[in-house]
Symmetry: C2
Subunit: 76 residues, 2 copies
């Protein structure tokens, strides 16, 4: 029985570890309810969206790459 | 034998998993060689600095919290 049906669209893999399957994190957006939504591009060419908590759990290193690539430093 | 002596200052715990030990990520800075340095505040009151790769491996969820807290969205 799947317990995360609402948060895991059918196009997303059912594997626990998404790291090897993710091509890249496309973007992050804020949903109307204020929560964060992550848009994932998969190596199989599909794209899906997920609550940030799911992406943090299944592919934390891809998410860190995404954030690091967008880092901006304040002038000292 | 420790193999990460250069990257793991003696004040940092030797545990593999730093998540339960980290109080918060203080900041990230860019070193002179262009690499990223993460400043960690520990629950035991100490502070240490580490290459980002080490923090990503040992406390990815704390790093994700840090990044998420600093997210800025572009105007649409």
């Amino acid at each position: 029985m799947r317990t995360d049906a609402e948060t895991s669209p059918s196009d997303a893999p059912e594997d626990e570890d998404w790291e090897p399957l993710v091509d890249e994190i496309n973007t992050i957006d804020r949903a109307q309810d204020g929560s964060l939504v992550v848009y994932i591009c998969w190596k199989n060419g599909k794209s899906t969206e997920h609550p940030a908590e799911v992406a943090y759990k299944r592919c934390p290193q891809k998410m860190l790459q995404f954030y690091e690539g967008r880092l901006r430093f304040r002038p000292k």
